[in-house]
Amino acid sequence: MTEHRLDLPQGTLDLLILKALSLEPMHGWAISERLHQVSKATLQVPQGSLYPALHRLERRGWIKAEWGTSDNNRKAKYYALTAAGRKQLASDADEWSRLTTAVALVLRMN
């Protein structure tokens, strides 16, 4: 754990979860692993904080949960994106990219 990792800015965890789930339904552990791999281990997602976020997203109706069987034949809770979640992901992703572009522009200022 010596390599340098980034902490997540406030609120971006939701966006990452929605993005991960837009590919396929997954359980919590898989989401955590996926984020870890895809960000090339750069992003530090505290595993504990993943679950409260999942529950909040479920409450807002952006994702829905279903119990299923995992690869190794264990009962696991799978999350899938709902139609509302898909819409939310689109608008959040758009907002994010506009924000980062804007921040990048400002930072390039001489």
Binding site: G28, G48, P52, R59, R60, G61, W67, K77
Partner: protein, 884 residues
């Protein structure tokens, strides 16, 4: 958006009510994560124990995650409230007496209000059951001299024809005349209510028939075949709901009519009509149609005000061709709803006001109990505060308790409307002819819930205001004797409000009771006890000519006069309390009446037995005898009102009356000028009309008229004779039915029934208010005495006498009393004005009533303070000083 909210709600509800399932799932989910992470580290070559340790380390605190997840479910507030509810319920159950007292008080307050509201809703707020009921209006013409007493809303055929011809404001304009008819089909002779209506009647209501057709203008033409439309109720009851009835005939008043239509359920206008028959209300078609009702439907887009203005202009224009004294008619146009129920508005709002006071008192009583309880619970609150409960949390706890109590009270109070409205319906004046049944619908439930919630919040917050939070910690250390000063101020304030409310209600009740006794004490001018009044309906077809009617009524009088139990019998045009049958202007001593100066006189043609049958008092001269027959000189008897206005200061006996000739009198006729032979007492002619009108009596036989109201003075209860009278009628003509049979004393007491109910209700409310405020005063005084125990003991140890202590305590109690009394009297002074319409021979600020109220309240309050004060004088100084 809605879908999201719904998903959110469903999620939260599941989290709330399936809490253990949700928790178990969370455990499983987290356990799965840890297992997977462990497996990964094992695969990376770590030992199982080390792998598990790494997995947990990476995950962080499981408990924190769980707690956070719970919060994210968004049920924290609800869960806390549920916990509060459980806690509150437990607390209330451990104090059953307190709880029962509060719940019952609130049930009374909320229930009374809900009952009043459900009545108001069904009478005032519910629209009439016709399409666009706001467009249906009721029309009448008020003549320049004002309306005939008891006349109601009417119009004459002349006016009606003009309106119909010239007005452009109506989509339909119809005349109707309510009445009754004898139905003689299928064995039973039965009298049913109904109306004669013009061809536009059904278009005004735009209600389609359930079967067949409604009436049209073609049905009203002379020579059209006789038809009838009947109500759903009559159809079900008399014709078994058989659809084949349409096209068959029914005999109404001896006329065979074809049943052409059946109305849907609920259509019963006017009042409880069961049949509608066609009639043309156009003038000059042979039948006289003087006074009848008119209803109309406004043309689309027309407002009531526009239509009223237009119709008034039509009326004024039509009057231009008439003599000046016949001008000045005022169009009286109201929505039909207003005409039917308008007179109930003020009494109902007054009722709402009275029950509002009851609720206020229930609220203050409960608040008082709550404050007392909050004081007892200071220690409990202090402990919770020191354990970290914030002020908001404690307030929420109190509110949850009070709202819970109010909700239970409200639920219990819902039982009231079920039977309460039946009692309260009595406040609706008898001018409202059909009171719709009050129902317990959504609006009433909403109202009850709203009242309960507001009540709960109001009395729940009062103790909050009285608790001083800053020294809650002090409470932990000792129950300081000085603590609670705030509360006693708050409680005293509440007692003052209660006393004031009680004063207002007492004053209102006092005024109404005085009015009632003044009204009952009035001499009706005759003896209503043991009098039976009977009216019959003669089938018009068989009794069209005067001779047949006269023969029938002669036989009726002769045969009923000799019935056992009949002391005296008479027939007359009009029976006291039932109104006039004829009004006329009479001249005196050879002079024709002048329209400007001579008042209208009630003309009553009677048989000689009338004096004894009704129980009139002879004031001067003599009454009629059998010798005053058709051949004898014409005689008359007048009442005192007539004598006073026409022969002031002189003896009317020996003067003559002067009957003007009718316009259609044959040429050469001479005016009739009967000799006045006697003066009788004034008789209350119309139910609640106190000032008697001038009245003149004539011998029916001398006028060759047929008086149709039978009056029997009986030796026993009058109604016991009805069966014998019915039997007598059947032996004369079996097709004749009794239309009215009334015990005059019952009619008499019904003339002040409205007053009695108003007085009774307000007195009952006032009594409740008095009891509650007295017990409130008693409770606060007892509390104060206990609080000041140490001080009182000290004073007595220093030599204060019992009398001084008594005075000390009483002074405190009487201060509240005087404040409440003053406030209440001021309020009553302002509010009793609203009762003015109900008052009779007593002013709205009658000093004797106000003084009596003050005395009653003073005595009751003194009693409530005296007992605790007495207790104070028994304080043993030593015990008091050792207190705490």
């Amino acid at each position: 958006m809605i879908a999201e909210l719904w998903a959110d709600l469903r999620y939260r509800l599941r989290a709330l009510f399936h809490r253990s399932d949700v928790e178990r799932e969370l455990d499983q989910e987290l356990a799965f994560h840890i297992t997977q992470a462990t497996a990964k580290w094992v695969a990376d070559g770590l030992s199982p124990d080390e792998a598990k340790r790494r997995a947990r380390l990476e995950f962080g605190s499981v408990d924190n995650t769980k707690e956070e997840s719970r919060e994210r479910r968004g049920t924290a507030l609800m869960e806390a409230t549920l916990a509060d509810l459980r806690y509150a319920l437990r607390g209330l159950l451990t104090h059953p007496v307190f709880t029962a007292g509060v719940v019952l008080t609130l049930a009374l307050g909320i229930g009374a209000n809900t009952a009043a509201f459900s009545l108001i809703e069904s009478v005032l707020l519910k629209p009439l059951p016709y399409p666009h009921p706001e467009q249906i209006v009721s029309l009448a013409l008020i003549d320049p001299r004002g309306q005939v007493p008891g006349g109601g809303a009417q119009v004459s055929d002349r006016e009606f024809a003009v309106w119909k011809r010239d007005s452009r404001s109506f989509a339909a304009l119809a005349g109707l005349s309510g009445g009754s008819a004898v139905l003689t089909d299928g064995g039973d002779v039965e009298e049913i209510n109904g109306a004669e209506v013009s061809g536009d009647f059904f278009p005004v209501f735009t209600v389609a028939p359930a079967l067949g057709r409604t009436l049209t203008a073609a049905d009203t033409r002379s020579g059209a075949p006789p038809v009838v439309v009947i109500s759903q109720t009559l159809w079900k009851r008399r014709f078994g709901g058989d659809a084949a009835v349409v096209g068959r005939t029914a005999t109404l008043d001896g006329v065979q009519r074809e049943i052409v239509g059946i109305m849907p359920p609920g259509f019963r206008y006017p009042s409880e009509a069961d049949y509608w028959i066609p009639r043309s209300f156009e003038p000059g078609n042979g039948t006289m149609s003087w006074f009848f009702s008119a209803v109309g439907r406004l043309a689309p887009g027309r407002t009531l005000a526009e239509a009223r203005t237009e119709l008034q202009a039509v009326q004024t224009r039509a009057e231009l061709n008439r003599p000046p004294r016949a001008r000045g008619g005022r169009v009286d146009m109201l929505t039909l709803h207003e005409r039917l129920f308008g007179s109930a508005r003020v009494p109902l709002l007054r009722l709402l006001g009275a029950v509002g006071f009851v609720l206020l008192i229930a609220c203050t009583t409960t608040a008082n109990l709550f404050i007392a309880r909050a004081a007892a619970r200071r220690r409990e609150f202090a402990i919770r505060a020191s354990l970290g409960a914030g002020r908001g949390r404690l307030i929420r706890q109190l509110l949850v308790e009070s709202v819970l109590l109010a909700a239970i009270g409200g639920l219990l109070g819902l039982a009231f409307p079920v039977w309460g409205t039946r009692v309260l319906t009595a406040v609706i004046p008898s001018t409202v002819d059909h009171v719709p049944a009050a129902t317990l619908d959504g609006w009433v439930l909403l109202f009850a819930a709203g009242v309960a919630l507001c009540t709960g919040v109001v009395f729940g917050l009062t103790p909050v205001a009285s608790l001083s939070w800053s020294n809650l910690s002090g409470v932990m250390k000792a129950s300081a004797p000085g603590a609670g000063g705030n509360q006693s101020h708050a409680r005293q304030g509440l007692v003052v409000v209660q006393l004031a409310s009680a004063v207002v209600l007492l004053a209102g009740a006092g005024l109404l009771t005085r009015s009632l006794t003044a009204f009952v004490a009035l001499d009706p001018g005759f003896n209503p006890h043991h009098v039976l009044a009977v009216q019959v309906d003669l089938p018009r077809s068989r009794y069209a000519n005067e001779h047949a009617r006269s023969t029938f009524y002669d036989q009726l009088l002769q045969q009923t006069r000799v019935l056992p139990g009949v002391v005296a019998a008479a027939e007359a045009d009009a029976v006291p309390l039932f109104g006039f049958s004829m009004l006329s202007r009479l001249g005196t001593d050879g002079a024709a009446p002048s329209t400007e100066s001579n008042e209208m006189t009630a003309v009553n043609r009677v048989t000689p037995g009338f004096l004894a049958a009704v129980g009139l008092t002879m004031k001067r001269g003599r009454w009629f005898t059998d010798a005053d027959g058709p051949g004898a000189p014409r005689v008359a008897v007048i009442n005192e009102a007539f004598a006073k206005s026409r022969f002031p200061g002189s003896d009317p006996i020996g003067h003559r009356l002067f009957f003007p000739l009718l316009p259609n009198a044959p040429p050469g006729a001479v005016p009739v000028q009967p000799l006045i032979v006697g003066v009788v007492s004034n008789v209350r002619q119309v139910g609640d009309l106190v000032e008697p009108m001038a009245e003149a009596f004539f011998v029916a036989a001398q006028d060759s008229s047929v008086p149709e109201a039978l009056t029997l003075r009986t030796s026993g209860p009058p109604l016991e004779l009805v069966a014998a009278v019915k039997h007598t009628i059947a032996t004369i003509d079996p097709s004749v039915a009794i239309s009215v049979s009334a015990d005059l004393s019952a009619v008499y007491s019904s003339t002040y029934a409205d007053r009695r109910v108003d007085a009774f209700l307000l007195s009952a409310f006032a009594l409740v208010a008095l009891i509650l405020s007295a017990s409130g005063l008693y409770a606060i005084m007892s509390y104060l005495v206990i609080q000041r125990n140490r001080e009182i003991g000290m004073r007595m140890a220093l030599g204060a006498s019992s009398a001084q202590v008594l005075r000390l305590v009483l002074r405190q109690g009487m201060t509240s009393t005087l404040l409440g009394l003053g406030l209440g009297l001021a309020g009553a002074f302002l509010l009793t004005r609203e009762l003015r319409a109900l008052l009779f021979r007593v002013s709205a600020t009658d000093p004797s009533v106000f003084a009596l109220v003050a005395v009653i309240l003073g005595v009751v309050a003194l009693g409530a303070c005296y007992l605790p004060a007495r207790r104070a004088t028994h304080v043993d100084p030593m015990t008091a000083l050792r207190w705490d």
